[in-house]
Symmetry: D2
Subunit: 165 residues, 4 copies
């Protein structure tokens, strides 16, 4: 008599496993002190505090670092289906300055995913909820290449809507 098959992992469990794998090796996000606050299938929230060494010549947080935070949130969100996925590009609007000590939070949501390509919106806010930047990222998936071996990769799950409008 054999044990019953275990239940397959849920999309949320897969997403959490990819977070571990991504975070373990992501030295870049660590350099900026980022924390992964939340993860889900196609979504994530990351935060970081603006440090002295992130300021530019105008004494505000370098827009490149605000973008790096958003890009990391994008990466965690689009890799959460356990299919190795890279950024093909993004469009960024810097709406307000971030200052020394500000706590920035970047939340990524999926707009569309179809074939190898996806579209994600990331919004960066400060500790007062003011919008610092918008980021719209274009992703490209390495079809069939899992991030974490032994887990379902890139699957569409029931209830997965192709386009959120």
């Amino acid at each position: 008599m054999r044990a019953p098959d275990p239940l397959p992992p849920t999309p949320q469990q897969v997403a959490e496993a990819t977070r571990e794998a991504m975070a373990r090796d992501d030295r870049a996000s660590r350099l900026l002190g980022m924390v992964v606050e939340a993860i889900g299938p196609g979504t994530s929230t990351l935060s970081m505090t603006v440090r002295e060494d992130m300021l530019n010549g105008h004494d505000i947080c370098h827009g490149g670092f605000v973008t790096t935070l958003a890009d990391s949130a994008f990466a965690f969100a689009c890799n959460a289906y356990n299919e190795v996925t890279v950024a093909a590009g993004f469009d960024v609007n810097l709406l307000a300055a971030a200052h020394l000590g500000d706590r920035l939070s970047a939340s990524a949501v999926e707009i569309s995913r179809s074939g190898r390509t996806g579209l994600y919106d990331v919004t960066v806010v400060n500790q007062r909820g003011e919008c610092i930047a918008t980021f719209r990222g274009r992703s490209y998936a390495m079809k069939g290449k899992p991030l974490v071996e032994g887990l379902p990769a890139g699957k569409r799950f029931a209830g997965d809507r192709q386009h959120r409008t």
Copy 2:
């Protein structure tokens, strides 16, 4: 009898003075080890080497740091008229991966400048001249606010073409 008036500074001299002012306080560019290789009115070239702590979970240089290099080149170029100018946004395409030890070079050129707004193209290449990323930046000038006091600010110089095509 008084000494003759000194010649007014050339656009190139103004640009070099802004480079000093920008570089002195730009802790963010220093964190990534950037070097300003060249500066001119509306142009600049910056370089950096991909370090271990710039790699992401896929073991390639974080696209945010490639963007930060391009954004710094953009900032040096659009501030070179000695008028405080910030990035309003940019569109980035990541064309190839940058790896550990790669030497990246970002060159910025001005596409247009009119009123408070400007448009700049930055191309990032590696040590083999392969294009890693394109960056198109939108700038916004703080009219009449000089970066370096005592030098002409934001002036259009003879031969300054509004739009390069």
Copy 3:
């Protein structure tokens, strides 16, 4: 004895007056058969049907016309404060093809407005609610220049949030 002062127009009434002024002279939107379905302060919805003469060589609606619909929705939304406002640029993602006879609907919402510049998101869907395109537009206001004379221009109204996140 004099009549009491009339109530000042509401933001919605101002928006509706700008729609009339915009639509009257907008020959371009008329060429494509666009209809203004809804207008509000910073928002609008426009629709159009894909005609035979809008198809490209691949027999689908030319992406430029999908973009023109989105750009018109953007224009109606950002001019609805009665301050002459033009498009500075936009980023477009074409997510699915639109076919002959499809009824397209473009809805614009304001993401931010500050000083002369604004940011608007437009989503284009077909008659089945499928997302055809996303459009993120950057606006530039001609400060103090009303679209309709005699009405408040560019005013911030109570409850007007600067950034929606």
Copy 4:
């Protein structure tokens, strides 16, 4: 004794054949009166004159139509390798207004092409050579699907550089 094999078509001959195929069915470009002035592998120039029915409520050429001209130039350029290729998206900056009677010319050049994706820059100028708009387009190729049957499709030719910098 049989006749010698004919020489294979040159890239330029392939490009010219795709122009015929594209232009024959492109009703959208015809609606705006566009003319294909030049074609080559990865390049094209299209022109159009701003008509009364292309003006918007501000009495200037609708930015959507300027974009449509650029998008058509992009389409002719990226299909010139005889592989069916569609626009995935683009970033546009509108730099100056186009007026009634202006003759606009859009020139597309290839920035990169790799796998299924490509990047093209289009510049739109008026009859005085002033830059009206910049357009950076992202293409996506339907691998192995020729536009014109019987001609080489999507081939890389000798001397074809992957990235122009």
